[in-house]
Each structure stands twice: as C-alpha cells, then as structure tokens.
Symmetry: D3
Subunit: 141 residues, 6 copies
Amino acid sequence: MSCFVRKETLRRLMQPRLVVSAHCDLPCGIYDPAQARIEAESVKAICEKYQGNEDPVFRTRALLIKEQRSELVKHHLWVLWTDYFKPPHFEKYPELHQLFNEATKLAGATGSKGSVDPGEAQKLLDKIAEIDKIFWETKQA
Amino acid sequence: MSCFVRKETLRRLMQPRLVVSAHCDLPCGIYDPAQARIEAESVKAICEKYQGNEDPVFRTRALLIKEQRSELVKHHLWVLWTDYFKPPHFEKYPELHQLFNEATKLAGATGSKGSVDPGEAQKLLDKIAEIDKIFWETKQA
Amino acid sequence: MSCFVRKETLRRLMQPRLVVSAHCDLPCGIYDPAQARIEAESVKAICEKYQGNEDPVFRTRALLIKEQRSELVKHHLWVLWTDYFKPPHFEKYPELHQLFNEATKLAGATGSKGSVDPGEAQKLLDKIAEIDKIFWETKQA
Amino acid sequence: MSCFVRKETLRRLMQPRLVVSAHCDLPCGIYDPAQARIEAESVKAICEKYQGNEDPVFRTRALLIKEQRSELVKHHLWVLWTDYFKPPHFEKYPELHQLFNEATKLAGATGSKGSVDPGEAQKLLDKIAEIDKIFWETKQA
Amino acid sequence: MSCFVRKETLRRLMQPRLVVSAHCDLPCGIYDPAQARIEAESVKAICEKYQGNEDPVFRTRALLIKEQRSELVKHHLWVLWTDYFKPPHFEKYPELHQLFNEATKLAGATGSKGSVDPGEAQKLLDKIAEIDKIFWETKQA
Amino acid sequence: MSCFVRKETLRRLMQPRLVVSAHCDLPCGIYDPAQARIEAESVKAICEKYQGNEDPVFRTRALLIKEQRSELVKHHLWVLWTDYFKPPHFEKYPELHQLFNEATKLAGATGSKGSVDPGEAQKLLDKIAEIDKIFWETKQA
C-alpha cells in the first residue's frame, strides 16, 4: 500500500496546506455512524420478518420499507464518506474508500434473491461496524 | 392523574385484549431516540456556528440546513410517539403525550428569534433525553 | 378527566403566560384537516380497488401508493398536533392527545391484514372527522 | 376555438374509443383542488408575514417555507392536469391547458421581486379558483 | 389550428409585452429533456427485466423502482412545461400542451397491465423525443 | 500505483469470481453522468446569477435552489460510484475512488465563501467531465 500513500503525500506536498477542521464549518460537524447502523438494523429485522410471514400484503410492505431503509443506509454512509472524512483520513486508512464502496453496495443489495436474507444484512452491519471503529479513532485523534 | 388512568383502563377492559408486541411486526421493531438526538445535536451546533459567523451566505445556508435538521428531529419524534409507544406505555407514563408535544414544538421553534439560540436547542436536547430515559425503561420492561 | 385538567391548569399557572396566537407567526397560520382527510379518502379508495382486482402488478402498485398516502395522512396529522394545537387547546380538549395518537396509529395500520380493509380506512376517516370538528371549534373560538 | 375542437374530435374518432373512467382505476380517483388552494393560501399568508417582519432570520425562513409551499402548489396542480383531467375534458374546456400552465407559472413565481407580494399570491388563488370551478363541473357531469 | 393561434395572438396583443428571457432569471436557465429521457430509458429497461424474471422479490422491487422513475419522468416533464416553455413557444407550437399532457399521462401509465410493457415505455420515449426536438429548436431560435 | 492494483488483484483471486454484469440486473442498468453534469451546470448558472443580483430575496432563493441542486449532483455521483462502477473498474482506474470523493466534496462546497463562486462550480464540472470520460470508456469495453 505504501506507494499509494507516497503518491498521495507527494500530491499534497505540492498543494497549499489544508487543515482538516477548516473544511467542516457547516453543516455542523455532527456525524455519527449510529445513523447508518440503526437503519441497517431495521433492514435486518425486516428480512427476518419477511422470512417468517408469507402473507403477500405483508411481504410487499416489507420490501417497500426495506428499500427505503436501505436507501437511508446508503445516504448516511455517503454523507460520512464525502462530508466527514478528509484527505488525511484516507491517507491514514487507505482501505477506507473500498470499505465505503463495499458497504454501500451491500446496502443496495442489487436485485439478487439475497436481498431478503438476514445474513446479507448482517454483513452490512459488520461493514458498518468496521467504519464505526475507524470513525471513532479519527474523532479521538 | 389517577382518573385518567382509570378511564383508559376501563376503555381497554371493554376492548378485545391487545398484546403490545402484536402491533409492531412491521416495519421492524427497531427504534432508537438516538436518531432524534443526533439531529438535535446538529441543530445546536448550527446555532453555535450561526452566532459565530456573520457572512450572509453562510448564515442563509445555516438556516436552511437547520430547518431540514429540525424537520428530521420532529419526524423521528413523531415516529416514536405514533409507532413505538403503545397504550400501555401511555397508561404507565401519562406525561408522555405532553412531553412529545413539547419536544416537537421545540423542534419546530416557530419563527421567533430564539430559533438560532443554542440555549433553545439545548432545551430540545433535554426533552429528548427525558424521552430517551422512558424509552429505555420500556425496552427493559 | 377533571383531575387531569386540574394538574395541567396548575402547571400553567406557575409558568409565564403564553398567548396562543404568539406561537404561530410562521410558517403561516394556514391549517386545514381537509389535507389529512383527502389523503385518507385516497387510502380508502385504494383499499376498495385492491379488493376488486387480483392482478399482482395492480395490487403491488396499490400497496405502494397506499403506503405513501398513509404517510401523508400521518404527516398532516402530526403537523396539526404539533404546530396548530397549543396548550390551551389541550387543556380544553384533554382527549386530543389520545385522539391524534390513535388516528396516526390507524394511518400507520402497521402490518396487519386489516391494512387493505376499507373498513379500517373508514375508521381512520371517522377519527379525522372528530379532529376536524374540534379544529373548527377552536378556529371559531 | 371551434377548429381546435374539430381537429381534436377528428383525431379521437379515428382512435379506439376511450371511456373516461377507464383511465383512472389507480391510484384512487380521489382528487380535490383544495389541496392546491390550501398550499396557495399558505403562500399568501407567508408573503403577508414577510412584509410585516424585517428580522433576517424570520425572512429567510419565510422564503424557505414559501418555496416549499409553492412547489407543493405546482405539484398538486400538475397531478390534476395529468392524472385527473382526460381528453374529453380538454375538448370541452379548451382553455384548460393554458389555465394550468399559467397557474403553475404563477406558483413558480420565478425570481422576480413580486414573489413576496401577497397580490401575486392572490392571483394564484384566483387561477386555482377557476380550475376548481371547472373541476367540480366535470365531477357533476 | 390557425384560429387557436389567432385568438392567442389577439390576447397577447392586448397584454403588456413579455420578453421571453425576462421570466427565467432563476432558478438558472439550465434545462435539458435528457433528464426525462434517461429516467424513461430506466422505466423501459425495468419493464424488460420484469418480463424476464418471475421471482416475486425481484418483481416487487422492479415495480417499486419503476414507480419512482416514472414519477421522475413526470416531474422533469412538468418542470419543462411550466418553467422552460413560455407563451411565445406555445403560440409557435400549439400542439405542445397536448404533447406534454400525453407524455406525462404515459409516464403515469395509470394502473393498466400495460404498465410493465416495454412497448408502452417506448411510446413514452417517442413522446419525449418529440418534445426534445421542439426544445432544441426553441433553444436555437 | 501498481502495488495497489496488485493487492486488489490478490484479494480478488481468492474470492469467488464475479462477472461484472451479474451485479446490475436491477434497478435497470441505465446510468448517465449527464444527470450529474446538468445539475452542476445549474449550480454554476445560479452562482453567476447570484453574483449579478444583490436583491436579498433573489439571493436567498438562489442559495436555496443551489443547495438542492448540489445535493442532486452529490446523489447522482454517489449512485454512479456505488451502483454502476464495479471492482474490476476500480482495479483498472485506481484513481476513481478519489475522483468521486473530490467531486462530491466539491459539490458539497462546504460553507466557504467560494460556494457562490462560478469558478468553484467550473472545477466541479471539470471533475464530472473526468468521471464521464472514464464512464464511457467502461461502457465501450
């Protein structure tokens, strides 16, 4: 991974210095991966209830609401990725781009039968937990 | 408060019995006052930044984003009040209706100069903390 | 109900006096329960059409649109409850909190088979009619 | 206007016959210009309050909320124009297209100083009243 | 069609002159029928995939997403009709009102089985192509 | 950059093989960076009009609408990044993650005075043009 870091470091040395906190004076500086996690817990719970109920009205509503919840998971993750994390974070955690891309792809769960599988929803929760861990490390730094 | 409880009790005795958990088999059973709290923290942080920056572009964006965040606070509180809490909860916590009504009114912060006052936003956070306390008591019950 | 009123009266006597109209200088003072009623009529009509058509594409679209309409019913009712009605109204109509809570719960119609039952939608319309009656009494007062 | 009618008549005679009610079996058949009117009353009330209050926070919120209300006026009118009204209506009321176009343009009130003028908002209400009159004539037909 | 034009011309001669560009100084003057076209291509692609996959989860998601895409087609067309096109355009292209009305009706595709028929979606694309042609003629004028 | 590619290659060799087109069978496979570009052109045009008009009502509306347009730019870019682009694309174009992150950060244009600067909006358009170039290369591959 070192050459990736080196190229990035080089690019940044040739730019005017950018202090992290200077980016973030609005909206507000309040971010919390809990927002994505709560919605993803909802996705998982819906998958479980879908599996346990064969009534077509129930199932259609379940898919509908799951779709909206998944959109919210994606949105909360996208906001963290674009608005909270800054170049120095990506430099320190080079896996962060891919982590967010995989997490939002999982949240999208595009079209496969797996999309009502609680196991898939748990994978999404695991990815969010990885992001959450990094998030709080950067907050304490 | 006892007569209120009595009337409610009476009404319920004459109805077919309603088990709490039976109401809630979809969307998902996942609720968390943290959603309202995070948005309210955002409202407070925006108020503080508004006070510290006189640039009109900044201030207009601040009001805009604060308005959206306040709407989200209201929405998350309304969902808790309507979808999570059930008649037995309102019976046990008779102040709950008024608490939610005051909290959503505070979140609306309708039109007064106070609406960019971090102190008002703190009051909102305090109300949400009261709701949060009751919420977790009902979850453990 | 009288002891509820008494406690509320007491609480208010110890607070700074609050003139009703002072709360409401923005958004605009325009409220009308017709907004909730029209959406609820739509919910009922959709239930009726759902019952009369077994085509799965039609039924899925019906559930989808009914879900959105129900959300709008809830939203319009929540706005009335939080933004239009003020403490003196709740003092005069102590059943108002519960009425709104039951109406929005009915609008949610969470997950039961009853949710495509026009009879349930009619109950929702009846609740909204009760709210509407109180609303216009308070407007004339 | 007669030649317009004639051309339209001709076109329709060569098409398979289309019964009006056949178009409209979902969403629900419930339409009411009151939805547009209530939002437009809100727009007018906001204009009046804007004129009477010079506080910049108040005025920014007023513009923000007015913008949303105007969008809703447009949306409700567009839905009536596209979903409720059918070719036979446009044949009978050939001014209807232009009426809706002018009403939605007024609702947009694009960018001129006039957009906080209650007089402009009244013009919008007048246009909606014209549409409302035609709407109820077609309902009774 | 000529008498329609004549009546419209007459009405305009008796009004204060209206320069086209004067209407349009905000939002921004940027319009492009490509927005409606891309969403309509999405609608058509979803219809094709719906036809080729009988899994009920897939089909429900397909209907859900198609419904949202259709709403976006309608919205983009409505914005063009109300915000971009001005009275002189409607005078020059008297079929424009009807073209937009038919296109948005097709986008709505209300409730018939045809709504998952790629052929219907192609008709929508054809209508948008007609609008697109006129749009670019007016841009070059 | 080669070591980044190598690590990614390694990771993929140890995973079950994933054919690109298999991910994308719903929503629809229709993507087009034109959606982001049109909204970004709107952002730039609004900046230009903001600079040329000092009326506070106009300027507030300009900021309001620009904020919404910027959100749409971000949303369209996020959808491309998460839903269209797949691991083999990120392997072939290792700068893609950073390109999207910078483009969405520019679209956010968080809080600085630069946010009404047409030059900043042009930078956003340039980033989108880079993404657009890669997008069409991958479509032709």
